[in-house]
Amino acid sequence: MAIRRILIANRGEIAVRIVRTCRALGIETVLAASAPDRDSLPARLADRTVCIGPGRPGESYLKAEAIVHAALATGADAIHPGYGFLSERPALAALCEAHGIAFIGPTAAQIESVGDKVRARAVAEAAGVPVVPGGQVDSVEAALALGRELGTPLLVKAVGGGGGRGMKCVTRLEDLAAAVALASAEAEAAFGDPRVYLERFVVSGRHVEVQILGDGRGQVVHLGERDCSVQRRYQKLIEETPAPGLSAPLRRTLHEAAVRFGERLAYRGAGTVEFLVDVQREACYFLEMNARLQVEHPVTEAVTGVDLVAEQIAIAEGAGLRFEQSAIEHRGCALECRVNAEDPGADFHPCPGLVREAVWPEGEGVRVDTHIVSGSHIPPYYDSLMAKIIVHGPDRATALTRLAAALAATRIVGVATNLPFHQAVLAHPQFRAGAVDTGFVARLLERRAAAEEIAHHG
């Protein structure tokens, strides 16, 4: 079935990104937007915009019924959910399935299997994919027993969670009971699911994920990995591919494990299998699978030349995979910085408001995915992502040089951004050397806070 009109159930830069590929493919777009997003850049670019509700996501972007109704009423054949919002809610995929609309993503059943961390772990184990030692705990007593068995440090996570919410690190067993109770309460509030599980915390770990594409019939290919270790409180800030400093066997292990995981599910569409790489042990463990397009997908596109949104659409049309594993080549290195409207000088507080001026970089190997132009409003209801600055170069050194120049050429007036933070990371010798672990940002910020303290009193 050829898709001729896609309803985009998202906003911001990813909505712009999806429109761009649809235009290239001659597919019409309908944007389902909230009232404050009616005049946003994606609304201007889409062939048609329908207003689905007020600003709060619960009354607009999270209303699966309103979105499917809008798709049916505007004659859309397919819905692209982007990332976040309804992208990983089985409800939207199921409604699409029930109404003959192609959901550009996995099946509702696949979303369910990977959305629940305990079930996803079971899939990983069945597929022979290594997992971090740990398990679900239903009581404080069970948590203590498992905690003693695993040893500290431990990580308490929400079964239904994501994005770092409901996640706690425990270094002393006597703090475990309180951490489990808190994580459970947070998880209940955020995801409506109080279940938590416990796993061994890898002290020096890197976050490396593998992009896969599956045809839904059991064939799966990978498009290499991305290193997303530059994170602050589990929020990714800088991503790159290839992951620097991985040994060839470990890299191959990661790729093969991700493909096996996808094959086990007969996964359909684009997905990402996340791993924790234990630097000291040269080992990798399955973390979770994201059953959607990732924010950081452009770095993969830069080095492979594959348009992941176009492939998602082809798979949703039933065209399957349009290339074999051997046809995927990786050229050079790509990095991405997430430019957020948040103030690194004030504990990264979000800074919504009017962007009086926005100048984005251009040039060789530079790509900017954004919905922000001069005069754009950043509403307070959504995440603070303003843009992704992506650079590509024949090697990491060239890409880093291009990224520094691109950041320097970026000018945002009206709202605070995390650009100074990105520049500090980029200038850091450890980051320049490559292969930092997920604790890098926290240590960097601690040192800076300490230095400021000294400067104040000195």
Partner: protein
């Protein structure tokens, strides 16, 4: 208490985001006046949403733009006591309780705040729309069976005193 440059910047941002055109702030020994734009406070109502960006190749018809950010459930007043009744949600608008039945209201009908003026169906779920204002229906803009968006004007009512 004094204000730093950053404070002033923050206050300016707040004013910009607000619906106010002017702000005067007096703190001991300090007076801050902020005015939006260059012209003195304009008497006109807030401008309509930016011109519709109808792309030439688009084969889709864009319906009349809904008032951006108009609150649901409340009739928005326009000129001389005429109120607009906005759609509280996206869905299919029906003027009558069932096919063939007489419409809930016609032009000229007297409505109370809680008078049902239509139904909006979202995935087979029927939601009643109430006038939200007391007066006389002057115009019905949304067609029966048409897709209406959140905030789109369904009908106009001249308010009675």
């Amino acid at each position: 208490m004094s204000l730093t440059a950053a404070d002033v910047e923050k206050i300016m941002r707040l004013v910009e985001e607000s619906s106010f055109d002017e702000l005067t702030l007096e703190l001991d020994g300090l007076k801050l006046c902020l005015r939006r734009g260059t012209a003195p406070a304009q008497a006109t109502a807030a401008p309509a949403p930016a011109a519709e960006p109808a792309s030439a190749e688009a084969s889709l018809h864009t319906p009349p733009a809904a008032q951006a950010g108009s609150p649901a459930g409340a009739a928005a007043a326009t000129e001389e006591g005429v109120c607009e009744v906005p759609s509280p949600l996206l869905g299919t608008f029906y003027r009558a309780p069932k096919p063939g039945a007489p419409p809930f209201v016609e032009v000229g009908a007297l409505v109370e705040e809680d008078t049902v003026v239509g139904i909006i169906e979202v995935m087979k779920l029927m939601n009643t729309v109430r006038a939200g204002v007391r007066g006389t229906v002057t115009e019905i803009l949304a067609a029966d069976g048409a897709l209406v968006e959140y905030g789109q004007t369904l009908l106009r009512v001249r308010k009675s005193q």
